[in-house]
Symmetry: D2
Subunit: 229 residues, 4 copies
């Protein structure tokens, strides 16, 4: 099973962007691998379900599913089984992303089936209080998205520090070991540094990389920032 990284983590969520679908998911993942090899940082990628197998075959960086369903094997047509993404090569999975939210009982069960299948669980939460709530469910990683950083488009590096530190503090009161990623407002190296300085252990990023004109260069800037922090 993939171990949580001691060093800062960068996970790139491909969403359903065409720039990161199919063949282009592989191309982007190779750039991510290149940065990982050059900089010795943790870089993971979260492509669409149908791309997991091809990406996992072509690159040697950890692949995450964007979602799993909390179901066991059986009559669940159209659902995403942990066993399935695992066998396709995923090493972890996002859970409860703001674009694919689950009921609380489902989050709990999804974390459990992820663990049973040796998948790192990255649970997303939209507010300080819900971040604390998911921390009680003992996922491996929490991706916090402070609403001030989503709603207003303020980058982490320009936000009032207490916005991030407050969420980190709440989560830490509940769970001292969970890895915390900052999941909103990350578009450049400065944001990455800021996120780390404020007490997180990495970032979950999407359009900042996928939609960049030159994803390799921006991701490399991210990686360099993790070294400075």
């Amino acid at each position: 099973m993939l171990k949580k990284s001691e060093s800062p983590m960068i996970i790139v969520n491909y969403k359903t962007y065409l720039e990161a679908t199919g063949r282009r998911a592989i191309e982007l993942s190779k750039k991510a691998e290149k940065v990982k090899n050059e900089m010795d940082v943790f870089v993971g990628v979260a492509p669409q379900f149908a791309d997991i197998a091809a990406v996992a075959k072509e690159v040697h960086i950890p692949v995450f599913a964007q979602h799993i369903d909390p179901n066991k094997a059986g009559s669940y047509t159209g659902h995403v089984l942990a066993e399935s993404v695992k066998e396709a090569g995923a090493k972890g999975t996002l859970i409860n992303h703001s674009e694919r939210q689950l009921k609380i009982s489902e989050i709990n069960e999804a974390i459990r089936v992820a663990r049973q299948n040796g998948l790192l669980s990255v649970v997303c939460a939209n507010e300080p209080s819900t971040s604390a709530a998911v921390a009680t469910l003992k996922p491996d990683i929490i991706a916090i998205e402070p609403p001030e950083l989503i709603g207003t488009g303020i980058p982490v590096s320009k936000a009032k520090p207490e916005i991030v530190t407050g969420t980190v503090k709440l989560v830490r009161e509940i769970n001292s070991t969970v890895t915390i990623l900052c999941g909103a407002g990350i578009t450049n190296g400065e944001d990455v540094s800021a996120a780390l300085k404020l007490g997180t252990q990495g970032v979950l990023v999407a359009s900042g990389i996928v939609k960049a004109k030159d994803p390799y260069t921006v991701l490399r800037e991210f990686a360099e920032a993790t070294k400075r922090a």
Copy 2:
């Protein structure tokens, strides 16, 4: 784009059965391909999202997604984009399976994005009246699941003929060209023959094949039955 078959269609839904996940999805698909080659019938398979690419690469029978979301590309983490399953090799997709039902506006939009991406749409419906309703949305194929055949476990071949013919008649009043599959109560060749005699053009089957001790033999029996009908 895959054309609808003139001859009877057999589509095997792998659901999230472990017997048809990952490596075993490929093995089962090879058996399906063997039957197709020996008998010259239409056999399609619907594996889980993460298995589409590998199955489509290993076999030369049409692969269907089990579901697509009605969204366009963009910020839809964890959703299933038509473009994605298409590029992975899918030739069609199930929509609105009883285990993954959609709002009516979503069914309409999913049929549209399937068409835009050259994917055959197979829309499932649970009753005569909803079968007629989805017929108005002009999918390529409708899979009807007469409730008497689900609820009670009665095989098609033992059901009162009017149960299936009534649904077929309702659908035909709305839509004269849609292909109609019978999607419940199919476990042996006799059921396949019965479904065809009652006015459908094929079957959507799941556990009857996937959970069979010898899927190849049962599927071959299905194929032979389509020749007799």
Copy 3:
């Protein structure tokens, strides 16, 4: 059971507007009743669930629920039972409003339980094709919301006539007896006249009345327009 009106119908959806919640729902309903009495037109109101009983007690115009769930009585905490809104005094119910959409199997079942409880069913649909689809399910009334009238804010009276007539035509091909309401872009008498001229039998309106400075005057203008049409 409430009969469908032969004359044009005006149904006012109170949504969850504070202007039409609680005591204010009753006040607004009394204004609607006044217009009904003065003009001898069909005016129905659809308040929130908790206001149905008080409104039905205070006024003598038909009250509609905004939604019912397709469930039978039993273990459905937090759901809306047809029997419950019926006993509270509702004579009908909206189903599948764009803000409370249902799966197609649920729409079908909700129409059925409405009928079993003597409630007029008003099923909303967002597009010509979905309007036709719900027409097959034989509700009493369909409220069509041509997307051009929602998306762009064009009033019916200013829209190209074929936008509404096309939807009406599609619905009529499926169902010759269903009452058709126009459910978007209605803010003044001119819009009401236009909706009726284009082949609908009434309007479903919300903010146009509820948010009006003087709801009585605007509703009276609507009622007068139905006489001119």
Copy 4:
């Protein structure tokens, strides 16, 4: 605003049982009020939305909604606004009942709008870990439903004590002031005593009262049990 009771609480969930719909909701509530008056215990009732106003008018015991939506006033047809149930007379609301589960962000927001409207929030949770998670969201009351008591039908009084005490302990580690109700397996006075002895402050009960041949007598037995505990 209704204060949380210092003495044990009994809340009766009417679900959508016909035995507790409309006129019969009022009758049952009067029996509950009688027990409250005779025994000086806290008894609350949670009727369907459309019955809240009539029940709140007829009895002087606290009425709870079975659910509220996390939305603010506006374009939310068919949703349940906190302001609406409040004005109808509700003093509190269930949230996230196992039959009406919410996303975690919605639970958080529903608790918030309940508080803003002076409604006591009773959040249900299905497992020890999710009970702890909702405890971080600071509702007024948590109703825990230990799965062993649901799945197997074991009454609390016959269950291994650690099943309930373990959940209570987990919740208390997070939140020392929240009131904890036991929400499964309660059918007689012995169960009520057991629930209280194991560290909860009351019970959430449904069919045990509503479906009883003589609800008054059973509820009175419950009330007596709270005195003994």
